[in-house]
Symmetry: C2
Subunit: 320 residues, 2 copies
């Protein structure tokens, strides 16, 4: 077993946290990861109270292991945080925005505060908010993120916020990535895209298949999927998705998309409903090269954890 500050904090078998991906990480996926010995976080996203009610009830029914939930900080208000805390999660994760207004509320509930950051400035805010864990998320991550890359960001954040434990996120999809993250000084990893291609993930099987078939060369960061959905993401956040026809048409011509928004928005909603992923987005990180099939989430947790244990166990053999 790999022992780190993360595994000790939640008594986990593996130093692996499931990314709380809005619309993808429901209660079933979060519970599957927690039951396998990781930490599952329900994807509260922009904070839909009805969706959260259903999925939080599901995760509570399906696991007795530690679990949590995450939200997009700038998009939610205190009532959503209170709704989550009422379900007695072991952790709440805040991403994309200033976590300080919620730090005290979350910790007062006896819940661990996890903050995801994309740069050094964000890491210092997270420490000020009282974060129990800080996730350094690199630009290679799928979905929303920013500009810095995991390999250089993680050790910089580790140095900047010590002794607060740091996790690595972005571009990690196998045991090699987990072992590398631990060498960088991280206490574990947050993994998203690899779990999108799991049986328990919400979302279209067609989207999961695109992730399996694609290479990391085919992903890009863009704002066009936020613009067309009418979402006002604050700079410098963008979303990494598989390149498709919609991105090819509008990425680089964002003003044109704004001008055509009424018609494009309608067509986009229809594409989302019908599962037309030439138009609708498939969020995906650069780690897609390492994803070969859709599998049960528990198998993914165990394989990544066991591969990392093997790598670390033989690492000293590289040194003679």
């Amino acid at each position: 077993m790999i022992k780190t500050a993360l595994t000790r904090l939640f008594d986990l078998r593996y130093p692996i946290v499931l990314a709380p991906m809005g619309g993808v990480t429901g209660g079933a996926l979060a519970a599957a990861v927690s039951n396998a010995g990781g930490l599952g976080l329900v994807g509260g996203g922009y904070g839909d109270p009805d969706w959260l009610r259903t999925e939080l009830a599901l995760v509570r029914q399906t696991t007795s292991a530690p679990w949590g939930a995450g939200v997009i900080t700038w998009a939610v208000g205190p009532e959503i945080i209170r709704q989550i805390l009422a379900q007695e999660p072991h952790a709440v994760m805040l991403s994309f925005g200033d976590p300080r207004p919620y730090g005290e509320m979350i910790k007062a509930a006896g819940c661990k505060l996890i903050c995801q950051v994309q740069d050094l400035a964000g890491a210092l805010l997270a420490r000020e908010a009282g974060a129990d864990l800080i996730i350094a998320q690199g630009t290679e991550a799928g979905g929303h993120g920013s500009q810095r890359s995991t390999l250089a960001l993680v050790p910089a954040v580790v140095d900047a916020v010590a002794p607060v434990p740091v996790l690595a996120a972005g571009g990690i999809a196998d045991g090699r990535g987990l072992a590398a993250a631990l060498m960088l000084g991280a206490q574990g990893v947050l993994i998203g895209t690899r779990f999108v291609a799991s049986d328990e993930a919400l979302g279209s099987p067609l989207a999961k298949e695109r992730i399996v078939r694609s290479t990391g060369d085919q992903t890009a960061r863009t704002t066009v999927f936020d613009i067309v959905r009418g979402l006002s993401w604050p700079e410098p956040h963008t979303g990494r998705a598989l390149r498709n026809q919609f991105m090819a048409r509008w990425h680089g011509n964002e003003p044109g998309l704004v001008d055509a928004l009424a018609a494009q928005s309608l067509a986009f909603k229809q594409a989302q409903q019908s599962g037309d992923f030439d138009t609708a987005m498939v969020w995906a990180g650069e780690g897609v090269d390492l994803i070969q099939s859709v599998e049960p989430a528990g198998d993914i947790v165990r394989r990544i954890g066991d591969e990392a244990e093997s790598r670390l166990s033989v690492a000293s053999a590289l040194v003679s």
Copy 2:
């Protein structure tokens, strides 16, 4: 000692290669790295025959250990490759462009062919060129590069070109990065920016000081420094530099820079000559957070190598 395919190929003490940075990696720096047990590569850049003559003579005089040289593939012709090969380097490194026209010439001279790539497609071309080593360079690297990030790119390239050995480049500036790269399946690392801040590096002490003072949050990829110098870099290559006044003014307004090119180009040349780095660029990767002082290159090689050995030696202790 860390033993990898890289150290065996050149009989190195450390699995560390010095990036051949044009205008920075002269013969003195390359020799210092080789003398310390890494592999020093003179930075041939765009291929200036007079500069190369001087610096190749210097590296030959200053080390009896293996050394090499690198060039920008799209910018040089066969005569520059021949000029380098005539000095009997142990390795020639080709970056940014199709290496296939030169593979046979380099290998026929008894010299190892190193190809640096920025994506999977490039890795397959490098293998076709007969590369003895393939460097997977992430976007976090300083100077020219592309879009994919090191942590996800390296294992993908390792899988795609096996059994050709792969090195990691981009964002590596300490022993943590080297140890992480080895966990990803790399056989060593290529390091640039960390060696810019060395005593032996060519270039202005003011530029070195900016690297020491800056954080990774302060770097960005841009084309404005190529546009103002009249260099036609092929897409999708950009250069990562410290943000400065010139970048703030023109990045995002590249057409405006093209319109003002005559005057801007003159002012830029003067800034380069006078060491005005509010205008002239300082190429730098995201690893600048990890650089605290200007030091002898040999000390940098030994510290990074020894730190990585320590990390790898205790890695198995993480697993109980």
